[in-house]
């Protein structure tokens, strides 16, 4: 059994679903930002900060950040459990993988706090 406790949820079906729903949210965000910036090529600070101070936009950005957090947790867990294994890296692989998983979760938490600070801190 490979570090199941560190996977995003205990259920593979939930992980599968979260991965796809979060992908849809992020794709919607990418499309919206791309279209908005293409429609406003010489956007001013006033317009950009006004858009991002709308509660709906802040929630959309936060929802996207939450999607990134869960999506990255699941995705990187898959990558680590596939490649950082005893077969490929030898007997130290288990401890290396656990350290990397803790680092990954720490980075995700830093991203989350940073994003909230950006979105509500201007």
């Amino acid at each position: 059994m490979v570090g199941i406790a560190s996977s995003f949820s205990q259920s593979g079906v939930i992980n599968w679903l979260v991965q796809r729903v979060s992908a849809l949210v992020m794709t919607a965000y990418i499309v919206f930002i791309t279209v908005y910036l293409l429609a406003n090529p010489n956007i001013s600070y006033a317009q950009w900060s006004e858009l991002n101070s709308l509660l709906s936009m802040r929630l959309f950005s936060l929802l996207t950040m939450a999607s990134i957090a869960s999506h990255a947790w699941i995705g990187i867990w898959c990558v680590l459990t596939d490649y950082v294994t005893e077969r490929l890296l030898g007997p130290k692989a288990d401890i290396i993988r656990k350290v990397l998983q803790v680092c990954m979760i720490a980075v995700i938490l830093i991203y989350l706090v940073w994003a909230i600070d950006i979105l509500w801190g201007f």
Partner: protein, 128 residues
């Protein structure tokens, strides 16, 4: 004791891989790059919103070659990962996974589409 000679089912290092495999492994690599590229994206978002001064500073800052490379790398990885991810979502609905041929075609389509988007991103980043 772990038996080092344990047989491995589908040892990827020993077989010739089709295009679908490369699209899959690139999806993983681009995902990991995007994970780190998010730091670049958040940095840009922070500067763009913090104040009018930092907003105006952005243009000069991203003119630096290292900043250009970081932004380009993050956007290119995100573009590929998104296109390959949409291919997965389409296949989840049962389209294009019925035969190896359709899988191979959608893999090449994903490669072509992401190359086109990355070319647009590249010309945009270079034009700053």
């Amino acid at each position: 004791m772990t038996n080092k000679k344990r047989p491995v089912n589908l040892d990827l290092g020993t077989i010739r891989l089709p295009v679908t495999s490369y699209v899959s492994i690139l999806h993983r690599i681009s995902g990991v790059i995007t994970f780190f590229g998010l730091a670049v994206m958040l940095w840009l978002l922070d500067l763009s919103l913090d104040s009018e001064q930092s907003f105006n500073m952005l243009k000069d800052l991203v003119a630096h070659p290292v900043a250009k490379l970081l932004v380009w790398g993050s956007l290119a990885a995100l573009a590929y990962h998104t296109v390959a991810g949409i291919r997965h979502l389409v296949m989840d609905f049962g389209l294009g996974e019925e035969s190896f041929n359709s899988g191979r075609n959608s893999a090449w389509t994903a490669v072509a589409l992401s190359l086109l988007i990355i070319a647009i991103i590249t010309s945009w980043v270079v034009s700053w």
